[in-house]
């Protein structure tokens, strides 16, 4: 019994398995081929192992294996869903954080964003230096009758608002030192319309804007018209009203005011001039008729005289004069002597 026989007996467990690759085991196998005792030992061991392996359990059932596969897939799927949900939650959290930070930043920076816009507003409210002021661009337009302006608006007529000089029809360079109101877009009125400024803080305090404020109220318009009528040389060019109506209304206004009426005086002067016109009886009659219409309300007795003279100057005016005299009689403003005189004139004519 050699040393190899002892080694083989000690390592018979490794030899019987046969799976491990070892040079020593190969040498022991070679020894077992030559040694009958070792060969018998190895054979008995391998035979016993073979018997043992015959009783090896068959293995788990297919149902168990399938159940395991299914459970493994379920666990993986749940884990994947959880990861997906976590990923989405993380994205949502990041997005929400971004929104919160952005909103907070906007809230904090909003004041700083709005402050830079303030200087133009303050600069705009500052009064314009005296040396940079110019007369209002549309002030001379008030020399024309406002009624004419309103009746015939020019398409290129510009606004007189100082807030929007660039929108006027005439191209005018922006005034120096006067910001043309970018923070406040100017709303110009329609062409031809004269509007008073709406922003008190931007109205220039010089004398020029005072001329800009054109009288737009009816009372102011009527006053301007009456003063304009008084300055006219020829009554027929005063307004679009008929001369008689215009003079009559002016005479009534003077009578109501109980003040010396320059219109009445002017009408008397016109009547005197008409009386002196001996060359053209027709023109004389028309002038006398106009003067009588003017004086009819204020001085009805003088008007009656003028009517009668106009009828004698131009017989063609007789019918209209008779109607006017009839109206005066019915108004009971004439004394009885004058009324008798009218009645006598009417009978004479008839």
């Amino acid at each position: 019994m050699s040393d190899l026989c002892h080694v083989l007996e000690e390592r018979i467990g490794e030899l019987a398995g046969g799976a491990d690759v070892d040079p020593t085991l190969e040498r022991l196998r070679a020894h077992a081929e030559e040694c009958p005792r070792c060969r018998s030992l190895l054979l008995q061991t391998e035979r016993a192992l073979e018997i043992y392996r015959r009783t090896r359990p068959a293995g788990p059932s297919g149902a168990t294996l399938e159940r395991l596969r299914h459970q493994a897939r379920s666990v993986l799927l749940q884990e994947r869903r959880a990861q997906t949900a976590w990923a989405w939650n993380r994205r949502l959290a990041v997005a929400a954080s971004f929104v919160i930070v952005a909103g907070l930043g906007f809230y904090l920076l909003r004041g700083q964003i709005e402050r830079p816009a303030a200087p133009p507003l303050i600069e705009h409210r500052n009064p314009i230096p005296e040396e940079t002021r110019e007369p209002a661009p549309s002030a001379p337009k008030l020399e024309q009758p406002p009624e004419v302006q309103a009746a015939e608006p020019r398409p290129d007529a510009g606004s007189v608002s100082p807030l929007a000089p660039e929108e006027a029809g005439e191209a005018k360079p922006p005034r120096e030192g006067y910001a043309p109101a970018q923070p406040f877009p100017a709303v110009s009125p329609p062409a031809g319309e004269v509007r008073a400024p709406q922003r008190r803080d931007v109205v220039p305090q010089s004398s020029a804007p005072a001329k800009v404020e054109a009288p737009s109220a009816p009372a102011e318009f009527a006053r301007a018209r009456s003063s304009d009528l008084a300055s006219r040389e020829r009554p027929g060019e005063m307004s679009r009203e008929s001369p008689a109506d215009a003079y009559e209304s002016s005479g009534r206004a003077a009578l109501t005011a109980r003040q010396p009426n320059p219109v009445v005086a002017r009408c008397r002067e016109l009547g005197s001039q008409a009386r002196r016109n001996e060359s053209d009886q027709v023109a004389r009659g028309s002038a006398l008729l106009a003067a009588a219409d003017c004086l009819r309300a204020a001085e009805p007795e003088e008007a009656v005289d003028l009517y009668l003279e106009a009828a004698s100057a131009d017989p063609a005016l007789r019918s209209s004069i008779e109607q006017r005299l009839l109206d005066l009689q019915e108004s009971n403003v004439l004394p009885q002597a004058v009324r008798d005189r009218i009645a006598e004139w009417s009978r004479g004519g008839a």
Binding site: G13, D20, A48, P57, L68
Partner: protein, 202 residues
């Protein structure tokens, strides 16, 4: 195409590939089930434990170290499952068809094992039952340390380094235990009449 190792398959399974788990299950189902069945002596119980072991693998897959070996890790889980099962078995009082027929008898024989399989020759059934009883008797005779090494080597077909890693013992210790277990086996089956009878027939 080279065959992927167990460790590569486990890594793929940890990464979320269910097919890798299928391959691992296919590779180790026979050896693990045999180890469990021999250890427990109960096929039905072994099947339950087999499922439990692989479910533990699935649940604790993230604990598998990438530099470790899969087989020792798997059989460590199986050993722990067997220990837990033995603890539970002590508390179990009611007998069932799966319960061992004789408490002091050979391990692994249950009432269901005594029932003849369908279509099997009665004589072969008798021989098979005798052989199984002899094997169970042999395993019962073995000390638990030797039995574990023997089962891991013959049924699980692990290498001695893997056995040593699984059991947490030195390599020479594992080889020595195997030597004694094989000596016991040889004594019982080397001249066993069943071995002589069934050696040429099956």
């Amino acid at each position: 195409m080279t065959e992927r190792s167990d460790e590569e398959l486990m890594g793929a399974f940890v990464a979320g590939q269910a097919e890798a788990f299928d391959l691992l299950l296919q590779r180790h189902q026979s050896g693990l089930f045999a180890f469990l069945a021999r250890q427990l002596g109960d096929s039905a119980l072994a099947e339950d434990l087999f499922q439990e072991v692989f479910l533990r693998v699935v649940r604790h897959r993230h604990q598998f170290r990438s530099d470790g070996r899969f087989a020792p890790w798997l059989y460590q889980i199986a050993r722990h499952a067997c220990v837990d099962q033995h603890r539970r078995a002590r508390l179990r009082a009611a007998d069932s068809l799966d319960h061992p027929a004789q408490r002091d008898g050979p391990a692994g024989e249950c009432l269901a094992d005594r029932m003849p399989a369908a279509g099997e020759d009665p004589e072969a059934q008798v021989l098979r039952a005798e052989l199984k009883a002899a094997v169970d008797e042999f395993l019962t005779e073995l000390p638990s340390e030797q039995r574990e090494v023997f089962l891991l080597r013959t049924d699980a077909e692990l290498s001695f380094p893997e056995i040593a890693e699984t059991l947490g013992c030195p390599l020479d210790t594992a080889k020595s235990r195997m030597r004694y277990a094989v000596a016991t086996l040889r004594r019982r089956f080397g001249i066993h009449p069943v071995a002589r009878v069934s050696g040429g027939g099956r």
